[in-house]
């Protein structure tokens, strides 16, 4: 037997993966460039800003060696705008992800293949008004680790909560589309939301598949029966039971 682990990443794993996101820090003391597996980090000289992986920034923050600059989309004004987009402007779809920083032109370029988790989306120069791929976990981590660096942290917390609820509702509502066999667009959905919704959506799809399979079996039997000239009432009963 395989391990009884659910499919995909657990929320904990998603949060772990999120820690590779780059964030901007304002150092409070000097630190030379560190050679890490992912490449050297920039040397820190206060008060010059520097981009560091989130896990490293959290480490420095915890030791009070740096302050983390919240990404522009995590400011209350930006979150309010996104919430308005989610609830009023397009109540059916998710708000769009941030635009690609390297516009894709006719010429093929090396940057064309970069996709969200590998693009810096939470540094200080990220565009406001768009939720990046790791918005939920990043927002949570930053609110927990450095609420003193975030202006109006309580407001941000409630706005994130609102956004999460609105989008959860959309996620559940999207299960309606699944019934017809179609898959709704997941453009703009974050990593954590997928990890959370996976169980539910996979469950629904699985259930639908089973229903469809039994229907299929029943249909095939009926066809066979019709071919054999046997009574159809039996199969009808079966269908009733399933429903």
């Amino acid at each position: 037997m395989a391990l009884p682990l659910p499919q995909g990443l657990t929320p904990l794993e998603v949060a772990f993966v999120c820690e590779m996101e780059m964030v901007t820090v304002i150092p409070r003391q000097q630190l030379k460039s560190q050679d890490l597996i992912a490449g050297p980090t920039p040397g820190l000289r206060p008060p010059h800003r520097a981009s560091l992986p989130l896990w490293f920034a959290l480490l420095l923050k915890r030791q009070r060696r740096a302050n983390i600059l919240p990404p522009p989309w995590l400011l209350p004004s930006s979150l309010e705008k996104i919430l308005r987009h989610e609830t009023e402007i397009s109540p059916d779809t998710f708000s769009p992800p941030p635009p690609h920083p390297h516009p894709i032109s006719t010429r093929p370029a090396a940057t064309d293949h970069l996709a969200p988790p590998f693009l810096p989306s939470s540094t200080a120069d990220a565009p406001p008004g768009y939720l990046p791929y790791h918005w939920l976990e990043l927002g949570d981590i930053l609110l927990e680790a450095c609420s003193d660096d975030i202006p109006d942290a309580d407001r941000v917390r409630t706005l994130l909560r609102d956004l999460r609820e609105v989008r959860m509702a959309k996620m559940r509502a999207s299960a309606n589309d699944l019934e017809g066999g179609g898959v709704s667009s997941f453009k703009g959905v974050g990593a954590m939301e997928i990890a959370e919704g996976r169980q539910f959506i996979v469950g629904v799809m699985d259930g639908l598949r089973k229903l469809g399979a039994s229907r299929e079996v029943a249909r095939r039997e009926r066809e066979e029966d019709e071919g054999g000239g046997a009574g159809g009432a039996n199969s009808d009963d079966e269908e009733m039971e399933m429903e």
Partner: protein
């Protein structure tokens, strides 16, 4: 009768109304006093006439407010009506307004055109006094308003709301606009309470005062909304009425502790105190030593010679300045001169005051006494300093002969506008705090504690440096901070000399800080600190240079004067001064750069390139040692080739008006320059019309250089599907601006390598920069080639711009042309390559 002053005559109250709230108002010309009360009679007393007042019968009952002009007065009653009465006919003229709920206060603007009405309704209405159909509504407050008051210019109105906030609206536009909610000033009081939360504007219009919950009277400045001086420890119970004297020299307040107190504005001391109970309203006579007040029993007191004789001269003064902790006008007066070119503004009109017989003025003549109030220098032309002359004095020659309105004056003597001195990186006083220095090392700020200041120095790097804090009895007002130490300077006073104080961050001897005094009469205009020298420019136009440990190294007089500012980096010192007058009527700003150690002048009295009317906001050296200037148009200029005499030019590296963050047009923000480092502009973003950063210290922001080439920066549009041509054009534009920027940075690096003992890394950095420029040119060429055959000439021009002399880059260019199939272009490029090879080194 307990009293702080000498014998007092008990003035008898005149029974004017039946018991109940009673209010009064003097007409602006001072001839009449109107009282309203709880009965249906309004009384009009003639000033100086002791007989029975004129009665206006059949008025509304339970009046809650009255205000008057010379021709009419307005009263508001609890039945919700606001009536206008005429003095000519002594009868009710019209009903201006009817509210559904009781009226609480009425106030007429100084021009008499508008009447603001506060009622128990949530909305405050401002109605035209001559045309009751024109109305303005103030709707932002969430609770009823108890008091209202127009500022002396009638451009602002302050509302004391029952939610404990003061709402200030601007009436400059047709639609009133909420400017500010002032929190924590007044206490929460119900509309029908006797306790007052009234805001009263000082007659000079720059501050207002309001009673606080602690029974003090707090002064708050308009504009930065900071607490200024406070009139404290007078009342032992809540304040019920408050009024400034007409010239602002005194403040009268009445409290539930049965006292009326007269305060002197300048010292916030109590001049006199009287015992009268239940005073509801106070009114100063506009000119005479006469104060009238009403109490809750319906009585009116008309109190002649209210101000004790020893203080009566305070009433004769002209308009007095508001009690600021640091008056923004006197702050700059030390080094500003009177400018009359822009002084054509309205002088606030005060009634002419009769001279006292045999006063000191008459005996001595105007020349001696005339200058006593000249400490307010009217450098922004608002006119209040001129108001000193309302008393028949003519202290200053240039006001002579202007009897008519100022706007109709003949053209007066032209005077040049010149640049004021400033300390780079500092802010003016706001409330009792100011930043003395803000840079990338840290920041220095000071708090005024009345008798002394407390100075705090904080660093960004908490590991390298230790923050410190000290009590400062020298009242330092300028500071510089760098890696080695902190430099302070204090201004000269009547008694004390200007001092300069240097404190190194780390020492290996016990005491290395030093302090030196400037000669008498010399004041510091700007200071700067470098790794090797301390530079002080003074009001005597001297540049004084000390070594880091206080040895006077050099003193010379600056050629351009008055001095404006200075900056220094290593051995280089940059001084700014006013030069000759330019075509726009402003003096030209001149700069000089000297190497102190080598005693060389790099640039002598060269002009700072500024557009018409613009001034310099800050001057500093970048981390690479290039002089930078941030001007009032929001442009960052960097001096190029400044080490060679007369080769220097000012290059705009960033125009903050063209930043893409402002492209949407919705944001209005300005930038406070801090430093240039790492090829980035470090600044503090100021929102909401602020001019200077304030507390808590805002975060530093950084912007990349962006040479202003075109005015359409990439807008922050979310859609990725742009027009193809647009993206290509954008790409080319981006490459072009990169090319210019890289060329400029390479030129800076070249200078640095040529003129200093350059290290190997600096030279390789220069070589790398040149390769980068060529790469950018090749990218631009590739775009041109892709665009089509017809762009070939432009592509060829780019090839000729290539800097590389080895021929590799030209080969690469040929390959690019080949790749896009531009054979003719390829041919031409080969020709260029051959020509270069032939000419070899003797080209250029």
């Amino acid at each position: 009768m307990a009293s702080t002053t000498t014998t007092q005559i008990r003035v008898r109250g005149r029974p004017a109304h039946t018991a109940g709230p009673t209010y009064l108002s003097y007409t602006p010309d001072g001839t009449k006093l109107v009282t309203v009360g709880s009965n249906n009679t309004t009384r009009v007393y003639k000033t100086g006439f002791d007989g029975e007042p004129t009665n206006i019968d059949d008025c509304q009952e339970q009046n809650m407010g009255v205000d008057s002009t010379n021709d009419f007065f307005v009263s508001g009653s609890e039945d919700g009506t606001v009536s206008k009465y005429s003095f000519d006919t002594m009868s009710c003229d019209t009903f201006l307004m009817r509210c559904t709920l009781p009226i609480r206060d009425v106030c007429i603007s100084s021009d008499g055109k508008w009447c603001a009405v506060a009622s128990d309704e949530l909305v405050v209405k401002i109605v035209g006094t001559s045309d009751a159909s024109s109305m303005m509504y103030l709707r932002e407050q969430l609770k009823p308003v108890k008091h209202i008051s127009f500022d002396p210019s009638s451009k602002y109105i302050a509302l004391s709301c029952t939610d404990g906030l003061v709402y200030v609206y601007s009436l400059l536009n047709d639609e009133p606009e909420l400017v500010r909610k002032v929190d924590g000033l007044i206490r929460i009081v119900e509309t029908d309470s006797e306790i007052s939360s009234k805001v009263v504007w000082h007659p000079d219009g720059r501050v207002f005062a309001a009673p606080t919950a602690t029974r003090d009277i707090q002064v708050v400045s308009k504009g930065d909304w900071e607490n200024q001086r406070v009139f404290a420890n007078g009342h032992s119970s809540d304040v019920t009425a408050l009024a400034w004297s007409p010239n602002g020299a005194m403040l009268a307040s009445a409290g539930k502790d049965r006292k009326i107190i007269i305060w002197e504005t300048k010292t916030q001391k109590i001049i006199a105190s009287y015992d009268y109970a239940n005073v509801m309203d106070l009114a100063w006579h506009p000119t005479k030593n006469l104060l009238s007040f009403t109490n809750a029993d319906g009585e009116v007191y008309i109190f002649n010679d209210f101000i004790p004789a020893e203080y009566a001269n305070l009433l004769k003064l002209g308009l007095q300045p508001a009690p600021f902790i640091h008056d923004p006008l006197t702050e700059t007066s030390a080094n500003s001169r009177r400018q009359t070119t822009n002084a054509a503004k309205e002088i606030p009109h005060r009634g002419a005051r009769r001279g006292t017989p045999d006063s000191l003025d008459d005996i001595l003549g105007s020349d001696i006494m005339g200058d006593e109030d000249d400490f307010v220098v009217d450098d922004d032309g608002a006119g209040y300093a001129l108001g000193l002359n309302g008393n028949g004095k003519r202290p200053n020659g240039d006001i002579d002969g202007h009897a008519g309105p100022l706007s109709k004056r003949p053209v007066h003597v032209w005077e040049p506008q010149f640049h004021q001195s400033f300390q780079p990186g500092s802010t003016p006083w706001r409330g009792n705090r100011k930043y003395m220095c803000l840079n990338l090392i840290g920041f220095v700020w000071t708090v005024d504690q009345d008798t002394h200041n407390t100075v705090t120095v904080e660093f960004y790097d908490h590991e390298f440096y230790r923050d410190f804090h000290f009590t400062d009895t020298f009242l330092y007002d300028k500071a510089c901070l760098n890696e080695n130490g902190t430099l302070f300077s204090s201004p000269a006073d009547h008694k004390t000399l200007a001092t300069v104080f240097y404190r190194p961050h780390e020492t290996w001897t016990t005491r290395t800080e030093w302090r030196t005094e400037l000669p008498k009469g010399e004041d510091v205009t700007a200071i700067s600190l470098s790794e090797s020298f301390v530079t002080v420019t003074t009001s005597a136009n001297y540049v004084r240079i000390y070594t880091l440990f206080g040895i006077p190294y050099r003193v010379y007089r600056q050629k351009s004067s008055p001095t404006v500012s200075c900056a220094s980096w290593r051995d280089y010192v940059l001084t700014l001064g006013n030069g000759s007058v330019g075509a726009d009527g402003n003096t030209k700003l001149l700069y000089t750069i000297q190497n102190i150690k080598r005693d060389e002048i790099c640039q002598s009295e060269d002009i700072v390139a500024l557009p018409d009317g613009a001034t310099v906001k800050s001057v500093f050296f970048s981390d690479n040692g290039d002089p930078c200037i941030y001007d009032s148009t929001g442009t960052l200029l960097v001096l190029l080739h400044w080490r060679t005499p007369s080769q220097a030019s000012w290059v705009p590296f960033l125009d903050t008006k063209l930043l893409s963050r402002l492209a949407s047009g919705r944001k209005t923000e300005s930038y406070f320059p801090v430093a240039v480092a790492d090829n980035k502009f470090h600044c503090i973003i100021l929102k909401g019309g602020d001019l200077y950063p304030y507390f808590p210290r805002p975060l530093l922001s950084e912007f990349d250089f962006e040479i202003p080439l075109s005015s359409n920066p990439k807008p922050d549009s979310g859609d990725g599907d742009q027009d193809m041509d647009a993206t290509e054009g954008d790409e080319l534009k981006k490459l072009e601006s990169q090319f210019v920027l890289k060329s400029l940075l390479a030129a800076q690096q070249q200078d640095l390598v040529d003129y200093t003992k350059s290290s190997h890394t600096q030279r390789t950095a220069l070589a790398r920069m040149e390769v980068e420029i060529d790469k950018t040119l090749l990218q631009m060429m590739a775009v041109e080639c892709r665009e089509g055959e017809e762009r070939g000439m432009r592509a060829l021009e780019m090839v000729t711009l290539l800097r590389d002399r080895s021929g590799r880059m030209i080969d690469a260019a040929g390959k690019v042309a080949e790749r896009y199939g531009r054979t003719v272009l390829g041919e031409k490029i080969r020709e260029v390559a051959e020509a270069r090879l032939l000419n070899g080194m003797d080209e250029d």
